[in-house]
């Protein structure tokens, strides 16, 4: 049992319903549709006086609590699974960037900039739009999700080509 929950990889038909269940639990027990990207706006709201950051979703404390839980969950998964070993390694991106930490950091930073701007432009990220939004039948969420996927496939394959292919 321990092995199945914490060690062996979850098949998609366990992992998907588990994520969906957390979405439903957050609504049933917490009364909210979960989302992650607005909490990044809360950090900006604390540091900037731009009126854009005065919107209500950037001042809801439950969002900040929720987002603070995410690294704890990641830590629990790694520690209980027996593979917690902090490092700057990042899967096959290491080989893709020729082992250069600077190239890896630059790519992650640039990707993060687009993710942050895109999430706020779109009004949500894969958790808020693709899970909570589509499950409610929102057209905007469906369109945003198609955008995530189409651009992801196109840009990733271009990137692999430019960087000389995955090993």
């Amino acid at each position: 049992m321990y092995h199945a929950i914490f060690v062996s990889p979850w098949p998609w038909w366990v992992a998907g319903p588990a994520l969906g269940l957390v979405v439903v639990l957050t609504a049933w027990l917490g009364g909210k549709g979960l989302g992650v990207s607005a909490a990044y706006g809360s950090v900006c709201a604390a540091a900037s006086r731009l009126p854009v950051f005065r919107q209500r979703q950037f001042h809801e404390t439950w969002r900040v609590w929720f987002v603070a839980g995410l690294p704890l969950g990641g830590l629990a998964a790694a520690a209980l699974g027996g593979w917690f070993a902090p490092s700057l390694a990042y899967g096959s991106l290491d080989a893709l960037t020729g082992g250069s930490l600077a190239a890896r950091a630059g790519l992650l930073l640039a990707g993060g900039l687009l993710v942050g701007a895109g999430a706020h432009w779109a009004g949500g990220c894969p958790s808020g739009h693709s899970l909570v939004g589509i499950a409610q039948g929102s057209v905007a969420s469906l369109v945003a999700t198609v955008g995530f996927m189409v651009a992801g496939v196109v840009v990733f394959n271009l990137l692999v080509r430019v960087l000389g292919g995955l090993p």
């Binding site: 902090p86 991106l93 942050g116």
Partner: protein, 148 residues
Amino acid sequence: MNGPRFLGFGALFGFALSRARVTDYDTIAGMFRLTDLHLVGVIGSAIATAAVGFWLLRRSGNRTLTGRPIELGARPWRIGALWGGLTFGAGWALSGACPGTALAQVGEGKLAALFTVGGILGGTYLYGRVRSRLGTPAAPARAAAAAS
């Protein structure tokens, strides 16, 4: 005090993201190269589960266990969903992470994700700045409208 409860939901979500391998760069790469459809199954079945759960909650009056109204947050149509979605997808391809998985990755000990988190904060701020310069109204407050 409601906060610690949401810390718990966040921890469960982060744990599930990690166990689902959404935080794994190679799994994301497999999805974008269309060679490993594991994540497509994960996302599809997560949406289906949430949709059934929301439907059951709606049938019972859209109330929490303790009888308070549930606010899922309305997501009205706007063209930004398309342009923002495409921008986001490009960033997802470069970093292999989204706002939630980047934070879960930091907890897992994938410290390179700190660059992603910094980038997302910077992108959020820059978007706010550009929006202010243009003087166009920003995204409507999502939680303002009642849940469907």
